[in-house]
C-alpha cells in the first residue's frame, strides 16, 4: 500500500523535474511548410529523398506510359488492372523467401506471379466457356485474396515488420531507396528499347493480329515481350504508388494521349510525357504540405491532365467541338442575312444600292430589333456598312440603310448561286418535286464547296435560271460584281444585259 501511495508522488516529481521538455509529436505536425520555400527546395533537388522521388517518378512515367500506350490501344485495360492485383502474392512470397525487403527477390516473385496470372486467364478462356472479362475478374480477385492471406500470415512472423508490405498496397514514395530507383531505371530503359526495336511488330500485332501472323511476324513472342515488360513496369511502380493505384498509371496517361492524336508513335510519346509529368507534379504536390501521400497525388495529376484533354483537346475535346459549332452557327447566320439583303435588292431589280433594315426584317420574317442586330453583326464582320441611324431603337432602325461591301456582295452571290444551283439539280437530275427543293437547298447552300459547284454547273450545263425562273449568279458575275466595289448597279447592269 505504501508503494501505491508513492506512485502519484513520483508522477508529479517526474512532471516537475523536467518541466520544459515535454515536446513530442509527429514531425509533420511541428514543422511548418511554406509553399514558396518548398517549391524552391524541390526544384533544387538537394535532398536525397526528393531526388529519389523525382527520378522514380520519371522512370515510372516512362515505363507505365509506354506500356500503357499499348494497353489502351489493344484494349487491355482490364488486363492491366488484373496484372497489378495478381502480383501481390508474388510480392509476399518473394519477401518470405528472402526474409527481408530485398527488391530483387520481390521483383522476381512478383513477375512470376504476374505471368502465372496471365497463364491462368488464358487457360480458363481456352478450356471453358467463361469469357475473357470474367476470367480476368476471377484471377484479379483470386490472386489478390491469396496475396492478402499470405500477408496475414507474414504479419504474425517475427520478421513481419521488416516487410513494410502494407505499403505495397498504397505505396510510400518517401521510402524509395536508390536500389529501388535503379531497378526502375533499368525497366524504363528496357521499355524504351523494346518500343524502339519492336516498333513495327508491336504495331501490326496490336492492329491486326491475323495479318501479322500471315506476314510471318512472331505474334506469340511479341505478346510475351509486351506482357513481361508490362509486369516489370507494374512491379517496379508498386513501391511508389501501390497495387491499387498502379493500373491508373498504366491507363490514364495513355488515354489522355489517345484523345489528342491519331498516330501510334505520337500516342506513345505523349503517353510517356504525361506519365512523367504526372509523376513529377504528384511528387511536387505531395511535397508542398505535411503528411501528404505521394501515390494518390500522382494519380490525381494524371487524371487532371485527362480532364483537360477531355474538355480542351483540339480534335476531340468538348470545348473545341462546342466552339466549332458556335462558329458554324454564327457563320450561317451571317450568310443568311447577306442572302436576304441580296434578295431584297433583287426584288427591286437592283435599282437601289442599299437595303433598309425594315425591308430586311420583312424578308427575314423577324422583328426590326432582331434585324437590326443581324445587320450590326454583318457590319462588325466587315460584310456591310450602315448609314442613317446611330440610335438602335426600332423606330429609327426601320429606315437605317445597309450597304454590302465587295466581300459581302461576293459571299451573298455565292450563297444564292449555291442555293439555286442545288434546287435546279434536285429538280432536274434527281426529280424532286419543285416544292420540296427549297428546304434542302437552304441547308446545302452553306456547305457546298467550289469543286462540287463546278461539278453541278457541268452537269446542269451552265444554267442561267433556277426552277423558279430566277437568275443564277455565275462565277463571272460574282467576280465582276466584286471588282466594281460597292456599286451593285454595275453588276446588276451586267445581269440585265442577259
Amino acid at each position: 500500500m505504501k508503494v501505491l501511495r508513492t506512485i502519484p508522488v513520483f508522477v508529479l516529481l517526474v512532471f516537475f523535474a523536467f518541466p520544459a521538455l515535454v515536446h513530442a509529436a509527429r514531425i509533420g505536425d511541428v514543422t511548418d511548410t511554406d509553399w514558396g520555400e518548398q517549391t524552391f527546395r524541390f526544384l533544387s533537388l538537394r535532398d536525397a529523398a526528393v531526388r529519389n522521388a523525382v527520378l522514380g517518378s520519371v522512370f515510372m512515367g516512362v515505363s507505365c506510359g509506354l506500356f500503357g500506350g499499348y494497353v489502351v490501344a489493344r484494349r487491355l485495360a482490364l488486363f492491366g488492372d488484373t496484372l497489378s492485383h495478381a502480383v501481390l502474392p508474388g510480392v509476399a512470397l518473394g519477401f518470405l523467401w528472402s526474409r527481408s525487403k530485398d527488391p530483387v527477390a520481390i521483383f522476381i516473385g512478383a513477375t512470376l506471379a504476374g505471368l502465372l496470372g496471365t497463364v491462368v486467364v488464358a487457360w480458363i478462356r481456352k478450356t471453358t466457356r467463361v469469357k475473357e472479362d470474367s476470367a480476368l475478374g476471377l484471377v484479379l480477385s483470386g490472386f489478390y485474396a491469396v496475396g492478402i492471406c499470405i500477408l496475414t500470415v507474414i504479419q504474425q512472423m517475427e520478421f513481419g515488420n521488416q516487410s513494410g508490405i502494407d505499403k505495397f498496397l498504397f505505396g510510400q514514395a518517401a521510402a524509395l531507396s536508390s536500389e529501388d530507383v535503379s531497378l526502375m531505371g533499368v525497366v524504363a530503359i528496357g521499355a524504351l528499347m523494346m518500343v524502339t526495336l519492336f516498333n513495327k511488330e508491336l504495331l501490326v500485332t496490336s492492329f491486326d493480329e491475323g495479318f501479322a501472323r500471315s506476314v510471318g511476324v512472331p505474334v506469340e513472342f511479341i505478346r510475351y515481350v509486351l506482357l513481361v515488360g508490362l509486369t516489370f513496369a507494374v512491379v517496379t511502380s508498386l513501391q511508389a504508388v501501390g497495387v491499387v493505384l498502379v493500373s491508373a498509371l498504366l491507363i490514364t496517361p495513355a488515354a489522355t494521349a489517345y484523345l489528342l492524336t491519331d498516330r501510334m508513335g505520337t500516342l506513345l510519346l505523349l503517353s510517356a510525357l504525361f506519365g512523367v509529368a504526372g509523376g513529377l507534379l504528384g511528387s511536387y504536390g505531395s511535397f508542398l504540405g505535411n503528411n501528404l501521400p505521394t501515390g494518390p497525388f500522382v494519380v490525381l495529376a494524371c487524371t487532371s491532365f485527362f480532364a483537360i484533354a477531355f474538355f480542351c483537346g483540339p480534335k476531340h475535346g468538348l470545348a473545341s467541338k462546342w466552339l466549332r459549332r458556335r462558329n458554324r452557327v454564327r457563320q450561317v447566320s451571317l450568310e443568311n442575312t447577306m442572302k436576304a439583303a441580296y434578295q431584297v435588292l433583287e426584288a427591286g431589280d437592283f435599282a437601289k444600292e442599299s437595303v433598309t433594315v425594315g425591308a430586311l426584317a420583312a424578308r427575314r420574317r423577324t422583328s426590326v430589333t432582331e434585324a437590326r442586330r443581324e445587320a450590326d453583326d454583318l457590319v462588325n464582320a466587315g460584310f456591310a456598312s450602315m448609314l442613317g441611324s446611330d440610335d438602335a431603337g426600332p423606330r429609327y432602325s426601320q429606315d437605317a440603310r445597309l450597304f454590302l461591301t465587295p466581300a459581302g456582295w461576293e459571299r451573298a452571290c455565292q450563297i444564292v448561286r449555291n442555293h439555286r444551283l442545288w434546287e435546279l439539280y434536285l429538280t432536274n437530275e434527281v426529280r424532286y418535286a419543285a416544292d420540296h427543293v427549297h428546304e434542302d437547298a437552304e441547308k446545302i447552300e452553306h456547305v457546298l464547296g467550289e469543286t462540287v459547284v463546278r461539278h453541278l454547273e457541268r452537269i446542269l450545263k451552265d444554267p442561267r435560271r433556277d426552277p423558279h425562273g430566277k437568275v443564277i449568279p455565275s462565277l463571272e458575275d460574282i467576280e465582276r460584281g466584286s471588282g466594281l466595289s460597292t456599286n451593285p448597279a454595275s453588276a446588276t447592269g451586267y445581269f440585265q444585259q442577259n
Binding site: N199, K200, E201, L203, F211, V215, G216
Partner: protein, 264 residues
Amino acid sequence: MAQLPPPLEIHDLTVSYDRKPVLYGVDAVVEAGSLVGVVGPNGAGKSTLIKTIMGIVQPNGGWVKIFGQPYKKAVTRVGYVPQRESVDWDFPVSVMDVVLMGRYGHAGLMRRVSKRDRRIASECLEKVNMQPFSDRQIGNLSGGQQQRVFLARALAQESDLYLMDEPFAGVDAATETAIVELLRDLKERGKTLIVVHHDLSSAREYFDKLMLLNMRLVAYGEMEETFTPDLLQKTYGGRLTILSDVAGQAAGRSEFEQEGTPKL
C-alpha cells in the same frame, strides 16, 4: 525436269471447332494464274479454309503446301486481305501506316522500313486510288475506301498467291469495279488469287474458276463446269450437308431462288 510446285496444294484437310467439324477431307490443287472464287452457304468453312491455309488455325488432319512448302516457309509469297470487321477502326494508324504493314514480311524483325518500302506502298495506294488519303486515320474513311486500303496492303506484299476473305462485302459500286480490275490485272501478271465470295450471282462474272465448299469440297474447276444447277444444289441445300444449320440452308436457298434458273 521437275515442274514448279503449284501455289496451293491441300490434302485431306480437316478442321474442327469444339468437336464440330468445319472442314472435312478437303483436297485441292490450285494452279498458278488461277482466279478462283470460293462460295458456299454460311458456316461452310470458307473463312476457316483461308485461315487454315495461313496457319492461323491448326488443322486436325491433312496438310497444306504453299509452293511446295509449309506456310511458315512461304510467308512472303502469300498476301492476305482479311474480312473488314476484324479490325479496330479507332486504332491510331494512318492509311500509309497500314499499307506499310504489307512490307513488314520483307523488312525483317527489328528493322525499320526502308525508303524502297515506302515507295512501293505509295505506288500500291496509287493503284487503288487512295493516294490522297495517305495521312488519314483509318477510321475516317468510307467502307469502300477501307477495303481498298486493305487491298493496297496486300498488293504491297508483292506476293504470288493472294488469299482474300469477302473483299466485296459491303462496298460501293465504284470500289467493286476497282477491285475486279485489280484482280484481273494481277491474274494477267501470273499471280494466283483465291477469293472467298458471298454472292453467287456475281461470282460467275468475276472469277474464272469456282470452288464450291460446304464443309466438304463439293467441286473445284473451271466456271462453266462447276456453275451447274446440280452442283449448286449439292452445295447449298443437298443431302451431303451434315450441318443442320437451318438458317444457313435457308440463306443459301433464297440466294439461289432469287436467281431463278441459272443461265448456262
